[in-house]
């Protein structure tokens, strides 16, 4: 493993064999063909001469090694048995119910772990005890090529550039660059049909005048009298859209019942609840957090706080869902409520402002 082994190469760099004709002469300083062919560039240290023995043939401690051999063999056999057990478990244990799946998972996982683990442990013992301990030193050459090699590279590259005329013929060069730019940009238009333009769709929900509020889950309309205990909060969805995920992603709403006088009215000076949008102290807010859109699902009755479980934005339900803590910057929009002829809660209009997270065009 010496570094001065250039002379051992089968193709000495500067003396091409007289008997065989070659291609163009190699530029001085570039690697000889044999070296250039080694993909990983590691061959430089390897002499082609027979080498002195570097690894001892036997273990450091033959006695220990014999004992270790038995252990390793036993572990490998254990792995084989575990693999057979794995197949047996696969064949024998059914799935199709929670308990059965857990039993199957336990059996398959355990046998798999043993099958892999036993080989791993065995191989480690093999390396540590049976293989002799060696520490070899490999020389490390500087990564940089010699100045001659670099000069030759520069020359080769420059020759190529000159021969191609890329440098000398600016018209060719510039038009090629222009063509490449076109080729790079033109396909981007293909991405246009990935989705529709947003337009004003983020500004609206499906709520409209007269649309009933359905209790989410049972999907039944609700009268103010059915929702009479202060402190209650339920999720409602627009009638007819209870299974429409795209609609619910914006239209999901919560309604909260308050006692008389608990709601703080909106005034020009302080933000509060728009009282003419409430019915019998029932107030409706968007359930979609104004931070990044999680449903605000937690309500603490004693403090009237609505909490988003994702990032803990907190809104005061008595004050028009104004933000009291957390990263959300805007109150939850309030939905104007009314009752229809049959006495059910309905929306009297869509939300007056966009619900959910902020976006550039929101304004």
């Amino acid at each position: 493993m010496s570094e001065t082994n250039g002379s051992h190469r089968d193709e000495p760099p500067d003396e091409p064999g007289p008997e065989e004709p070659r291609g163009p002469y190699r530029v001085i300083g570039t690697p000889p063909p044999a070296q250039a062919r080694t993909l990983l560039g590691e061959a430089e240290h390897i002499s082609t001469e027979p080498v002195v023995r570097e690894l001892p043939a036997g273990p450091d401690d033959p006695k220990k090694a014999t004992g270790a051999e038995r252990i390793v063999a036993a572990l490998f056999l254990l792995s084989l048995l575990a693999s057979i057990a794995f197949i047996a478990a696969y064949v024998a244990l059914p799935v199709h119910s929670l308990d059965a799946v857990f039993r199957s998972n336990l059996a398959l996982g355990l046998t798999m772990a043993i099958a892999f683990g036993a080989v791993a442990v065995g191989a480690v013992i093999w390396v540590k005890v049976i293989m002799p301990h060696v520490e070899l030193v490999e020389p490390r050459k500087p990564l940089a090529s010699t100045p001659e090699a670099r000069a030759a590279f520069t020359q080769t590259f420059t020759e190529g550039a000159e021969a191609s005329g890329f440098v000398k013929r600016p018209m060719l060069r510039r038009t090629l660059i222009a063509a490449s730019a076109g080729l790079a940009i033109a396909p981007l238009v293909l991405l246009r049909d990935m989705g529709p333009l947003p337009g004003t769709s983020l500004r609206h929900t499906v709520w409209r005048k007269g649309l009933r509020l359905l209790v989410y889950g049972p999907n039944t309309p609700i009268r103010p009298a059915d929702f009479a205990i202060p402190g209650q909060m339920i999720t409602v969805v627009p009638d007819g859209y209870q299974d429409n995920q795209d609609a619910l992603a914006k239209a999901a709403t919560i309604i909260i019942k308050f006692g008389p006088g608990q709601l703080v009215p909106d005034t020009p000076r302080t933000y509060g609840t728009k009282m003419n949008w409430t019915v019998d102290n029932i107030v409706a807010y968007s359930k979609i957090c104004t931070h990044v859109g999680c449903p605000v699902a937690l309500y603490e009755e004693t403090t009237h706080r609505i909490l988003c479980p994702c990032h803990q934005s907190t809104f005061d339900a008595t004050r028009g869902a104004a933000v009291t803590f957390g990263p959300a910057a805007r109150p939850l929009p309030q939905l104007p409520l009314g009752v229809d002829a049959e006495g059910y809660l309905v929306a009297t209009h869509d939300y007056y402002e966009p619900v959910g997270p902020s976006f550039w065009e929101r304004g």
Binding site: A113, G122, L202, K287
Partner: protein, 564 residues
């Protein structure tokens, strides 16, 4: 000629006649791999990745990346009759009706966590030992890209089952994308094929998750390994190890056997985890529904810092000229990890410029011997760690009975103050450890034997540090490269003109900080002094009389002080 030789020669002739590999493959077999436990961390990531490919391929045989709504009629009773997407139904099917399906799902998920964890720890190892230095900057940069891609790959992967938790994650992703100024809304609409959730996001994430990103990861990992192989691995300082050699065991048979065993070991550990530690039991969460959520929604751990950044942020939003700037969303989404990734990518070049060290390094630093780098690394860990913990603030608050808002306020301060404190404390610890090393080198190892001298004085016997350990203790400091001098010789000397500009002054200060250290005063190497290292700033004259005594002892005695 033994049987083995005959067999090898026969096969070898067949192959070599056709492929000519005797020299190069022999070089490959004899390639030396240095040994250190920390070099296994990258292997953990590599093998987790291979396991991800294997288990992931299995999962694709059964998974339906479709958002078509169906009614579930499978084996899991509680969800029978529930409307759900085909993606969710097929994930239930993999879990309950495919034998070994649950195991493979869990191995896949655990392997993803292990992959990201191993990447993190591997990057930290490379950072703290200075293994990213010239000539290995490319691999460092590839590593950062791998980590970023890994985060995306993981996020998209755990979004595929379309359960309530993963849908919530997608909702947050959509909200974050929407907050990006100017292009955000369009980006979100193009990605989701319209308004959230739409009907196309799962198939799109699926192809990105199983084809695009794995392809990129595979290409980058191959390049990473090729560079590592070509440049040869770094080694930890030790006896006989220099910048001009590689000391260790050869690839064949040692490294092959060990690394093969390690692959099996990782597979075994993942199988055990998947047997006994349930992960992502999607059947408990139910199908996604935009108006449903559970408390304690947490992303996978590698997204925790982003989640924490979102939680910690001030509610800051501007409306200007009819446009909304949601600082409260896009700043935490982009800035904290942006600082860490950009900082990490620039660091090798910044450090090189700052201390003027342009030489090749193949022997790693012990972290204590680069106190400033180590301190900056610890500051970054603290910054990331606070955000990461804040990402689970609701869980922590519930477990430790701390009010949630208090915890967020603590995190808001800690994310700024923590890194400063960590920097300072780490630096002091590093210098203290250097002092300990210097003391060991100068005085030897304490034996615990006390002897009384004829004069009545008690002394403790010491013995010299063994040669092997000595090399490790000394290497990085006595072999530090000569750095360009940027400080004048004496107090009266005129500073070099190039150090007087603002940049120049910064650089002088950077050199002073970057090379701060305790001189190794033993056995006349002398390099500890006078090359810009061992700046006296670290040991103010007279403040440490004991240390000066050490230095004096080391300087006049030849080698180690006598062990009496």
């Amino acid at each position: 000629m033994t049987f083995t030789e005959k067999a090898v020669e026969g096969t070898g002739r067949f192959l070599d006649d056709r492929l000519r590999g005797a020299v190069s493959v022999r070089g490959f077999l004899r390639k030396i791999f240095p040994d250190h436990w920390s070099f296994l961390l990258g292997e953990i990531a590599l093998y987790s990745f291979i396991i991800l490919l294997l288990t992931g391929t299995f999962l694709t045989l059964f998974f339906q990346p479709s958002m078509t709504e169906i009614v579930y009629h499978g084996s899991y009773l509680p969800l029978r009759g529930v409307r759900m997407s085909e993606a969710y139904a097929s994930t239930l099917n993999i879990s309950f009706d495919v034998r070994g399906g649950l195991l493979m799902r869990q191995v896949h998920h655990w392997a993803a966590l292990l992959f990201m964890a191993a990447l993190m720890v591997h990057m930290l190892r490379v950072f703290f030992t200075g293994a990213y230095r010239k000539p290995r900057e490319f691999n460092w940069l590839i590593g950062i890209v791998l980590f970023t891609l890994g985060m995306l790959e993981g996020l998209f992967g755990y979004s595929l089952p379309d359960d309530l938790l993963s849908g919530t994650g997608l909702r947050i992703t959509e909200g974050v994308i929407q907050s990006i100024p100017v292009i955000g809304t369009y980006f979100a609409y193009f990605l989701f094929g319209g308004a959230f959730p739409g009907h196309i996001i799962i198939p799109r994430l699926y192809v990105i998750h199983v084809l695009l990103i794995p392809g990129l990861l595979l290409a980058l990992i191959s390049a990473h390994l090729f560079f590592m192989f070509h440049q040869k691995h770094t080694q930890m300082p030790g006896k006989g190890r220099t910048n001009a050699n590689v000391v260790g065991a050869p690839m064949y048979p040692y490294f092959m056997a060990k690394t093969g065993a390690f692959f099996f070991f990782i597979f075994a550990v993942l199988a055990l985890l998947s047997t006994f530690a349930q992960i992502n039991p999607i059947w408990l969460f139910g199908p996604y529904n935009p108006s449903g959520i559970t408390a304690g929604s947490q992303p996978d751990f590698y997204m925790g810092a982003l989640e924490g950044a979102l939680r910690i942020m001030w509610p800051w939003e501007w409306n200007i000229a009819g446009h909304t700037l949601a600082f409260n969303v896009f700043i935490p989404a982009l800035v904290p990890l942006g600082i860490i990734f950009t900082g990490a990518a620039l660091w090798p070049f910044l450090e090189r410029w700052a201390i003027g060290d342009y030489s090749e390094h193949h022997v790693n630093d012990r972290p204590r011997n680069a106190p400033t780098r180590t301190a900056i690394g610890m500051a970054a860990i603290t910054f990331y760690g606070v955000l990461w913990l804040e990402g689970a603030n609701d869980v922590i608050a519930a477990q430790l009975q701390i009010p949630l808002y208090t915890l967020t306020w603590i995190a808001r301060f800690a994310v700024i103050l923590g890194p400063v404190i960590a920097y300072w404390v780490t630096k002091r610890i590093c210098l203290g450890l250097q002092r300990k090393d210097a003391h060991l080198l100068a005085h030897g190892v304490e034996t615990g034997i006390i002897r009384q001298l004829p004069s009545g004085e008690f002394v403790e016997l010491t013995r010299p540090v063994p040669e092997q350990d000595r090399a490790a203790l000394e290497y990085n400091r006595v072999n530090a490269p000569e750095l360009p001098r940027t400080t004048p010789d004496g107090a009266d000397a005129v500073p070099a003109p190039e150090t007087r500009s603002m940049l120049g002054r910064d650089r002088v200060s950077a050199v002073r900080r970057g090379t701060e250290g305790i001189p190794v005063a033993a056995d006349g190497h002398g390099n500890g002094h006078g090359n810009g290292h061992g700046a006296p700033a670290a040991v103010p004259g007279g403040a440490h009389p004991a240390l000066e005594q050490d230095a004096a002892d080391g300087a006049d005695g030849e080698g180690h002080p006598p062990s009496h």
